[in-house]
């Protein structure tokens, strides 16, 4: 327990100290990562803990953003004295009210039907927003400027970052505290067995509506923070891909663990920023990552961490070091081989390259990783295949070894939990 606090404290210190030394692009990405983390945590309150999979959380996120923008416009053009620091509260309030309303209808059904109702409600907003220009600013959306407030001008990205950081930390702490309350336990009971909750004398529908409302409230706060960071919002914020993204973040991070979705959102946001700056194929890599996580670690990144934490006393750590190091190395080899092939294909199939071929009539050498490669030389294709195949073989062997160590390496009384090794078996 003490380690966990130390780790969290270190993370918070890093989040406070590091950003001033980062470039604008990175600062903004961290703002986005924080917002995505809060959004995912809010979503997971409903999904991971309440067992209700919403496919339309973009609705409350977006409504929060638009609400905050309206207030921002009041501050900018009018004489409203609402402090900028408290703006996300507006988003939270709007999220709560709209969430309670939507939850009232959606929570009448569960499972797939619940997901469909939430999806429909979000799509309703998506098609309504571009036509209602008074409320949502039409297709172009609403725009405003952050005004100085309480001695801060909010002109720099860094100030926005600290505002977002503070709000995200407070909200995530609140969401965590929520899980410890009796009502938080009741939420989990809803997920495990709704019937039983009803027989215990609780009003299951009212509870579900309330959980939905709280989740939407934090989603609204996240939306409000986006509005502050971007100073604009348009109807695209209601797009189903925004709803899908938070589901993706949650699944990659692992919904079973409180911190899973937060990790997932942060990792994916930073991954997207870094990779999309390097290659146009970034979506392919993102998709591949998602598929791999679903196949080999269905409990997400958080699940893998949790498995290790749970077995920290029974695992033969010393004997695991070597296989883990080898597995990491093998993964790097596989990644390198894959990246080489994908990037080669991207270059060779690019318009520029094809135009050059049409112009000169020959397939020129292309440069990748700082070297020149001949398209039809076997060496060019052996270079990535070698590390790829070697890495895969190596992975297979080390996975077997890791499984062995996980199964019998420690205390025989420890129950075999779901571990990455166990899921790797499906490949062997």
């Amino acid at each position: 327990m003490r380690y966990r606090f130390l780790l969290l404290a270190l993370l918070v210190v890093a989040l406070v100290v590091v950003p001033p030394f980062l470039g604008l692009g990175w600062q903004y990405t961290l703002v986005n990562a924080l917002i995505a983390a809060l959004f995912a945590a809010a979503f997971n309150l409903l999904m991971g803990q309440g067992g209700m999979l919403s496919f339309g959380h973009a609705a409350y996120y977006g409504l929060g953003a638009f609400g905050v923008l309206h207030v921002m416009q009041l501050i900018e053009y009018g004489d409203s004295r609402f402090p900028t620091v408290l703006l996300p509260l507006v988003g939270g309030l709007i999220g709560l009210v709209s969430g309670l309303l939507a939850g009232f209808f959606a929570a009448r059904r569960s499972g797939v039907y619940f997901a469909l109702v939430t999806l429909a409600l979000a799509q309703l907003l998506y098609s309504l927003a571009p036509h209602w220009s008074g409320m949502f600013g039409g297709e172009a959306g609403l725009s405003s400027m952050r005004m100085p407030s309480l001695g801060l001008d909010f002109g720099s990205n860094l100030q926005v970052y600290y505002l977002t950081l503070a709000w995200t930390l407070v909200c995530i702490s609140l969401l965590y505290a929520y899980t410890l309350t009796p009502f938080g336990r009741l939420t989990q009971a809803l997920r495990d067995n709704e019937q039983r909750v009803r027989f215990m004398g609780y009003n299951a529908h009212a509870t579900k509506v309330l959980v939905f409302g709280i989740s939407a409230m934090f989603a609204g706060i996240a939306g409000g923070l986006t509005a502050i960071a971007n100073e604009t919002a348009n109807y695209q914020i209601f797009n189903s891909h925004v709803s899908a993204q938070v589901v993706l973040h949650t699944f990659i991070g692992g919904s079973a663990l409180f911190f899973g979705p937060i990790i997932g959102a942060a990792v994916i946001t930073v991954f997207t920023f870094v990779v999309s700056g390097v290659t146009h194929s970034w979506m392919l890599y993102l998709g591949a990552l998602f598929v791999l996580v679903m196949l080999f670690a269905p409990n997400g990144i958080g699940g893998v961490i949790q498995a290790h934490v749970q077995r920290r006393d029974s695992l033969p750590w010393r004997r695991l070091v070597a296989p883990y190091a080898v597995a990491t190395g093998a993964l790097v080899l596989v990644a390198l081989g894959t990246v080489f092939i994908v990037q080669s294909l991207e270059i060779v199939f690019s318009e520029q390259y094809r135009a050059a071929v049409a112009r000169t009539g020959q397939y020129a050498d292309y440069s990748l990783f700082g070297m020149k490669w001949a398209l039809f030389s076997p060496l060019t294709w052996l270079t990535p295949l070698l590390p790829l195949v070697a890495g895969l073989l190596l992975l297979r062997r080390t996975a077997a070894r890791i499984r062995e160590l996980w199964a019998g390496g420690g205390d025989p009384s420890a129950c075999p939990p779901k571990v990455p090794g166990a899921t790797l078996r499906s490949r062997a």
């Binding site: 470039g23 692009g25 039409g138 297709e139 604009t232 318009e351």
Partner: protein, 409 residues
């Protein structure tokens, strides 16, 4: 000691930079992944084509122009994030074209950035956002709109169709229900008196959701129009034209995006005889080498948004040439002021910038789908035959009152 000295000499050699001029940095924030990729790539490649030509002639300010692509993923949040990255990379100029929504995000981001960062301003070149609002409410000094708008397309379109006898006196207006479609509808109504036609009915429909246009075609049929004017694009245009073709209704279409890649191939013979108003047509190039050069660069002849983008970026390079910073720091405000004065003579007429709202004053070409054209479209035997070039003075529309531009002191 000697070693230390030589080490010092090497170190100073490494540290002391060769005196370099400030290179001009151009950020192309386009839709390079997602559903609008094909259009995004066209803007990017046309802009690169012109800028790299300038680099071949020695670059700018004594350095090659640095051009970098940023993928906005086709949405505004991606654009906002890539804009920050471009700022971090020190961009002076931002080029973007596909989607008015993204254009709205970027123009606002640029405006706010310039208010907060005096002395480090950025210029935004809007190559394709046609929404009137961008030059109205949202206009500002550092945004330049190097593309047409609805009135600039509809005016020439109805003018030429009337001259060719294909417009008739009963015009049907069918458009998509968002700002672009509304701008189009407004423009179609506004030219009714000038070109002596009656707008028999106006329809705004959902954007890219309708699979079957038959009910709309029945409505069109009942109104007995002589021609249909539409600003529809993508599926909304294709499916509408196909539904009309299937019904056997004989009307001429006046369109704004029929030249989008793939449309002619998809519509087949049904496309013949219909009109499009666009910013350029390669067949009008006096020197056929121009189109060949572009093909050598990109793999295809300039089509759709490319001729307009090439002209727009060429106008920008004129503004660059008007300012010689002599290898010193680049002053973006001076480039912006030069943009207002710049004038580009193209094969179809002059292109310049209107000082009041920074809208490009440019010629508009009206073409008709015919067989036996110089540059057939989509590998078919059909293509866009230029019928007439409408001069910049005839194509331009009045400045919107909503534009209140604050100029630098």
């Amino acid at each position: 000691m000697r070693h230390a000295l030589s080490a010092l000499a090497i170190a100073t050699g490494l540290i002391a930079p060769a005196i370099h001029a400030e290179p001009l940095k151009v950020a192309i924030i386009e839709s390079l992944s997602g559903s609008q990729t094909s259009t995004g790539r066209m803007y990017s490649s046309a802009a690169r084509y012109v800028l790299e030509q300038m680099n071949e002639q020695g670059g700018y300010n004594g350095e090659p122009i640095q051009i970098k692509d940023y993928d906005n993923g086709g949405n505004t949040s991606g654009a906002a994030s890539q804009f920050r990255q471009a700022v971090a990379d020190g961009a002076h100029v931002i080029i973007q074209g596909s989607s008015s929504a993204v254009a709205g995000q970027i123009t606002e981001d640029v405006r706010k950035h310039n208010i907060r960062n005096k002395g480090n301003e950025i210029v935004y070149l809007n190559m394709g956002g046609e929404a009137l609002e961008l030059r109205g409410d949202k206009c500002h000094f550092h945004a330049f709109h190097l593309t047409t708008t609805a009135p600039m397309r509809v005016g020439p379109l109805v003018k030429v169709m009337a001259q060719e006898g294909d417009l008739g006196d009963r015009v049907y207006s069918i458009n998509q229900a968002y700002s672009w479609g509304q701008d189009m509808e407004q423009a179609i109504k506004s030219y009714a008196d000038t070109y002596d036609y009656e707008v028999v009915e106006t329809v705004l429909h959902e954007v890219n959701r309708i699979q079957d246009f038959a009910p709309f075609v029945a409505q069109i049929q009942a109104a007995k129009p002589s021609s249909v004017i539409t600003g529809n694009w993508s599926n909304d245009l294709l499916l509408l034209m196909k539904a009309v073709g299937d019904s056997g209704l004989d009307v001429t279409f006046g369109t704004t995006f029929l030249d989008q890649v793939g449309n002619v191939a998809n519509a087949g013979k049904m496309a013949l005889g219909h009109y499009v108003a666009h910013p350029g047509n390669a067949e009008l190039n006096k020197d056929p080498q121009d189109a060949e050069d572009y093909k050598a660069f990109s793999g295809h002849y300039p089509v759709y948004v490319e001729p307009g983008t090439i002209n727009g970026i060429r106008l920008f390079t004129e503004a660059l040439r008007a300012n010689d910073f002599k290898g010193g720091d680049i002053d973006v405000n001076r480039i912006a002021l030069a943009m207002e004065q710049a004038r580009l003579e193209t094969d179809i007429g002059p292109v310049s910038i209107r000082r009041e709202d920074h809208q490009a004053i440019m010629p508009v070409v009206v073409s008709r789908v015919e067989q036996g054209v110089k540059y057939p479209a989509d590998g078919t035997d059909m293509g866009f035959k230029p019928i007439q070039v409408v001069s910049p003075e005839d194509a331009i529309y009045p400045v919107q009152e909503s534009c209140r531009m604050r100029r630098p002191d």
